[in-house]
């Protein structure tokens, strides 16, 4: 009954098959999945994820806080800002409380476009992040550095004459300074109609342990992640009207009752801005 040996001999076809996904370098979406307790990660990701935790144990709490902030932000956007359209760039592997699940629970007619540039993430998203019958979900294969491609593809599903929430969760760090991260966000926000929102959160340089852990990570062959100062994170909201309490450590952005450990309230900064 137990499998001592895989029972099939694999053919040439398998070699071709093996080219699609690189299992030899860690992958940010799969490491994130590991930190969140998911089951869609490979040995190389668990190893890199564990190594990271050794240097910066706070990353587990931070990963959870990131998801909780996302949920609170969507509650605010749906319940208080009447938003029913979301453009979520950097989807990551499905976990619990994905953007469309939270928003469609509050308003089943919500429409969500997920954008990612990773084939594995996209395949999982297309299969598992499916909409209610009343709403819609769509999936766009594009890189954050191609804002026009993203916006044009999103227009298949979202009505650009009505307010849209642009969601950038832990993704801007993948864009290096010389690639113009602030200009990319500006370009995306410019095309959104008045009354739209930007929700953004990203890791900062505040925690030295996190910075140290990331240094090893960036040398592992994974797509590197660039930390910014809280002021640089706030700079992504230039020209927008910040929703109270502004750009802050995500744990203290309109926290709900679940208490979190104040010593963790340092490293990921985020907020919501309104485009007037």
């Amino acid at each position: 009954m137990s499998g001592d040996q895989p029972p099939y001999s694999w053919t040439e076809a398998e070699k071709d098959l093996m080219e699609g996904i690189d299992t030899t370098v860690p992958h940010s979406a799969r490491i994130w999945n590991y930190w969140l307790g998911g089951k869609d990660n490979y040995p190389v990701d668990r190893e890199a994820g564990e190594q990271f935790v050794k240097v910066y144990p706070g990353i587990i709490a931070e990963a959870r806080a990131n998801r909780q902030f996302l949920t609170r932000a969507i509650h605010y956007l749906v319940n208080e800002a009447d938003i029913d359209q979301f453009l979520d760039i950097g989807t990551g592997l499905p976990t619990v409380d994905n953007t469309h699940e939270v928003s469609q629970r509050l308003n089943p007619a919500s429409r969500i476009v997920y954008v990612d540039n990773d084939p594995l993430v996209l395949a999982h998203a297309r299969a598992l992040l499916t909409s209610t019958p009343e709403g819609a979900t769509d999936y766009v294969d594009a890189d954050l550095r191609e804002p026009d491609k993203i916006l044009n593809a999103a227009a298949r599903t979202l009505d650009f004459s009505m307010p849209i929430a642009l969601m950038l969760s832990g993704i801007m760090g993948h864009v290096a300074d010389d690639e113009g991260p602030h200009a990319i966000v500006r370009q995306l926000v410019d095309r959104l109609p008045s009354g739209s929102y930007l929700m953004l959160q990203d890791g900062t340089v505040v925690s030295q342990e996190n910075a140290d852990a990331l240094e090893d990570y960036n040398e592992s062959g994974a797509v590197p992640y660039h930390l910014r100062t809280p002021e640089q994170i706030a700079g992504f909201f230039d020209g927008l009207e910040l929703v109270e309490p502004g750009v802050v450590p995500i744990q203290i952005w309109r926290p709900d009752v679940t208490p979190t450990d104040p010593k963790d309230h340092v490293n990921t900064f985020g907020g919501i801005g309104l485009k007037r």
Partner: protein, 297 residues
């Protein structure tokens, strides 16, 4: 996903009691293992305490064998678990793990290993499968399934065929609304073109596939010949909502199904399925592909 986690929750939440105890055993085993490890006791010492071997403990912890209430009580005492509520919670799992589920009623058409496999299938939260020979069982019409039986097991008596079809129909209830699981199937073009029954049977089968593929909790991807991509044989990866229970892989064999739980084996097949799904056609293109095939019949 929307099945929700039942980890650590009340035992009534486990959707497994209906089908059979395999997943309850795995959950109970995982919890017993955690308690043993927390107390720093070896498998051998634990085995000694219940008059068994270390391998009995490891089989129990993998959920591959039954649990006696007395053994669990002795082990919990050995592990220093004296809290009544915690002990009662685990005893209740023991009772569930010893209760036969509805699949037991089909014992006449099921081997023991097939029953375990179906118990696991029936309580999965996500079923991912790759099929290159036939339509996945959970998606087969009764006529198509009957045609397969008649083709491969021509001596099967009529009443047994009827029982097998009844069992298949009962299993397919997991996909009925409100569905308890998600099905994510990758079907090779060969399986869609191969015609075990009449042309009419195949047309109805493909039409049913189109209908099912429109359900929100079912995703069907076609692997067209044009991709050149194939794997050696059918693969099913079962995912459970309970965080303590790792994925299980099963593979159909000529002499019954093989199910794999060793992390390395499971990992290998999960990666193969990950690669297959990135190479297969988009789910949104499936219906058009199937309509084209129907026209060609």
């Amino acid at each position: 996903m929307n099945a929700g986690g039942t980890a650590g929750g009340p035992v009534d939440d486990i959707r497994t009691s209906l089908a059979g105890p395999a997943v309850v055993r795995m959950l109970l085993g995982a919890r017993m293992r955690r308690l043993r490890e927390a107390s720093g006791i070896t498998c051998a010492d634990a085995g000694y305490a219940i008059r068994g071997s270390h391998s009995k403990i490891s089989r129990m912890e993998l959920g591959r064998t039954g649990f006696k209430r007395r053994d669990v009580a002795d082990l919990l005492t050995l592990y220093g678990v004296n809290d009544c509520v915690q002990r009662d919670g685990l005893f209740s799992l023991v009772d569930q793990a010893n209760a036969p589920g509805w699949l037991h009623e089909y014992g006449d058409v099921l081997s023991n290993s097939a029953e375990t496999r179906l118990q696991l299938e029936q309580c999965a939260s996500v079923i991912r499968c790759y099929e290159n020979q036939f339509i996945p069982e959970l998606l087969q019409t009764a006529d198509y399934a009957r045609a397969l039986i008649e083709l491969y097991h021509p001596a099967t008596p009529r009443p047994e065929i009827a029982r097998r079809i009844a069992l298949l129909t009962r299993r397919q209830m997991v996909l009925r609304e409100p569905a308890s699981c998600r099905l994510w199937a990758i079907i090779d073009e060969a399986a869609l073109r191969r015609r075990p029954g009449t042309a009419a049977t195949m047309r109805r089968q493909l039409r049913q596939l189109i209908e099912i593929s429109e359900l929100p909790h079912v995703t069907i991807q076609v692997m067209p010949f044009s991709t050149g991509v194939a794997a050696g044989g059918a693969i099913t990866v079962l995912r459970f909502a309970e965080t303590e229970i790792a994925d299980v892989v099963y593979l159909d064999q000529f002499t019954g199904a093989l199910y794999l739980t060793k992390p390395d084996d499971v990992q290998h097949y999960a990666q193969v399925v990950d690669r297959l799904c990135t190479r297969a056609g988009l789910p949104a293109k499936t219906a058009a592909f199937l309509r084209q095939l129907i026209q060609e019949i």
